[in-house]
Amino acid sequence: MRRNIKEFNIREFAINNIVPIIFIVLCIICIPLAGYSGQYLVSQIITRIMRNSFLVLSLLIPIMAGMGLNFGMTLGAMAGQIGIIFITAWNVVGIPGLLLAAIIATPIAVLLGWFCGKMLNMAKGREMITSYMISFFMNGVYQLVVLYGMGPVIPIESDQVILPRGYGVRNTIDLINVRQSIDTFWQISIGGINIPILTIIFIALLCVVIIWFRKTKLGQDMRAVGQDMEVAREAGIKVERTRILAIVISTVFAAYGMIIYLSNMGTLNTYNSHSQIGMFSIAALLVGGASVSKASIKNVFLGIILFHLMFILTPQAGMKLMGQAQIGEYFRVFVSYGVITLALVLYEIRTRREKAESAKQLAGLQKEGAKA
């Protein structure tokens, strides 16, 4: 009897964690194929964790509030990029520069988050596709501001930033001023692997904030709203406001995350960075075993490790296997999209099955009742 239960649990475990399991298998296959050294992989993974975890963590709060994956985190990334553009133009260097970027980005992120939250309140039940379209729409607005507004309307004078034609921001900006300034501020080296302590402190701090946030009244309200808006409303919780707050907080965190990310990367792809980062962050979170309605800090880190391991490995593995690095590159794009699709579909099918099961139970009960 006990064995039965155990077996059942393993199966259940596999079904519930199918996405991370696929990824672990994938990575195990790819590691020998790619032939990278362990040290290289570890140092790469650490870099990626430092670079991405703040961004991925920013997705947790909207999930808690039942609003699904916040594709609108791109909006926060845009705000962060605007902050970075300004400090580069003003030539503010190092950590003060990043701080200033964060100060500039905050009000923009709050505003964008508020807009996004308002829109999502108008599209309850289809938050994800709507936040996705908002990120597309806002991308247009962002381009309008950055490509045409900066220079003539928003005064920026810097050859480093502005295109030679006199307005609009360059395609790529070298962030020499702030490159890895957080990482190198306090760094120790273990076995040839550099470990940036300050970045780790920042990330740990955010984790603590998120854990603490879950315990606050607002966090509790968000969980309530996420489960059932009507019940929460009846209990007197301001549903709409709570939802907007969830998105605002997420957007602001995403803005800070983007600043950390860019400082680590050292270059800004003015017109690409933000839209890519949205997809990669969401894919990473899902790879870590999160679903549309449930995500934890554990999912974030596991997801980043697995997703980026795959990312590092596949081009090389493709090269060795097929003789073409291109295949590996397409493969990782396919995997990023595929994992989001799979996670969304599995989530839908699972909720449906749960509903059907409760109905079946009811029917069973009645039959028993009818017999009795």
């Binding site: 596709i129 709507t130 597309f136 397409y330 990023s336 999209y337 969304l344």
Partner: protein
């Protein structure tokens, strides 16, 4: 007065703004030395190229599956048909017919599978459709590299394997419809071939919606519970509509390629659903209602803006903001449709 207001409301403010904007562009055009005739022909040419992909939205909207963000799946079927047709080496208009024939089984099979998937995720079709589209494009990117194509027009010259990113349809079916029945009046040139081609399929869809099955499909989209209570197999109707949409998507890309002159592989089809989706929305469709008129009006308005803004803007302020405007307008339109309380009466 009330009637006018009612009419305005049903037409919708964003649509009105877009139509007004387009009208303004045409009025301004002659003053900034733009040839209106050429612009009109350009708009019509783009209409011919894109209209079938917009038409592909109609069946799925009718059956309640929402906007077909998974259009890339249909496009991929079309690409498979196109490449296979070129691979056979048949040239001229026949290659176009061959491409249609080859793409059909792919469209039907992929559409069937896609329909089955969407039946399991009722309520979140649009989000999942988007990612099904993306994943399939990414998957096919790998396939284009490793499928054993050999036609020298398509394969990379230096390595001898893997398809090129863009393949010219010259000598095959480039402009087969465009040059068919083309009429030139001064600077205005109208290709009746493309318009006729669209008209045939628009008529087929229109007629289909007037048959028993078409009626059932509309009812499924309007109120699936009513349809079920009337003995309709809801899932079957939805699958059928998805297959139709996918097949039309395949046709649509072939039609696009013959007008454009090139086949775009790899990441090319990635974002092709967005213009089609926003075109039909600009035409007055909503997430669960669409008509052939919406397709025609929407495609003309959308393509009109796409062709007119760059030239007018360029000549007017010497800055080409058209791409950015297009992004804002088309995605803004989709956003507007999503945030409206549709289906509230149910």
């Amino acid at each position: 007065m009330e009637k006018v207001k009612e009419l305005l409301r049903s037409f919708g403010l964003p649509r009105l703004i877009i139509a007004g904007f387009l009208l303004l562009l045409f009025i301004v055009a002659p003053f900034v030395e733009i040839n209106v005739g050429a612009s009109l022909s350009d708009t019509l040419a783009r209409f011919g190229m894109n209209s079938i992909m917009v038409l592909a939205m109609v069946p799925m909207i009718h059956s309640g599956c929402g906007l077909n963000f998974g259009l890339p799946l249909g496009i991929i079927s079309g690409l498979l048909g196109a490449t296979l047709s070129i691979e056979t080496g048949v040239t001229g208009p026949l290659s176009f017919i061959l491409a249609i024939l080859y793409s059909t089984p792919f469209a039907l099979i992929l559409g069937w599978g896609y329909g089955q998937l969407l039946n399991r995720v009722k309520g979140s079709e649009m989000m999942i459709a988007t990612y099904v589209g993306f994943s399939s494009v990414a998957f096919m990117s790998i396939m284009w590299l490793i499928l054993p194509y050999s036609s020298p027009t398509m394969v990379w010259g230096y390595s001898g394997s893997g398809l090129r990113t863009t393949i010219s349809t010259d000598g095959f079916y480039s402009h087969v419809l465009k040059d068919f029945l083309q009429i030139n009046i001064g600077t205005l040139s109208i290709s009746f071939g493309e318009i006729l081609f669209f008209a045939i399929f628009a008529f087929i869809i229109w007629a289909f919606l007037h048959t028993k099955t078409g009626t059932a499909m509309t009812a499924v989209g309007s109120n699936p519970i009513f349809a079920r209570a009337s003995g309709i197999n809801v899932n079957k109707q939805r699958t059928l509509s998805v297959m139709m949409s996918t097949w039309l998507g395949a046709l649509g890309i072939l039609c696009y390629q013959q007008g454009y002159g090139f086949i775009q592989l790899y990441q090319g089809p990635m974002y092709m659903a967005m213009p089609a989706v926003s075109a039909i929305l600009i035409g007055g469709a909503s997430v669960n209602k669409a008509s052939i008129a919406n397709v025609i009006i929407g495609t003309i308005l959308y393509q009109g803006i796409v062709t007119m803004t760059p030239s007018v803007m360029n000549n007017l302020i010497h800055t080409d903001m058209s791409e950015v405007l297009r992004i804002i307008v088309s995605n803004g339109m989709i956003l507007y449709a999503l945030t409206r309380k549709t289906g509230a009466s149910r």
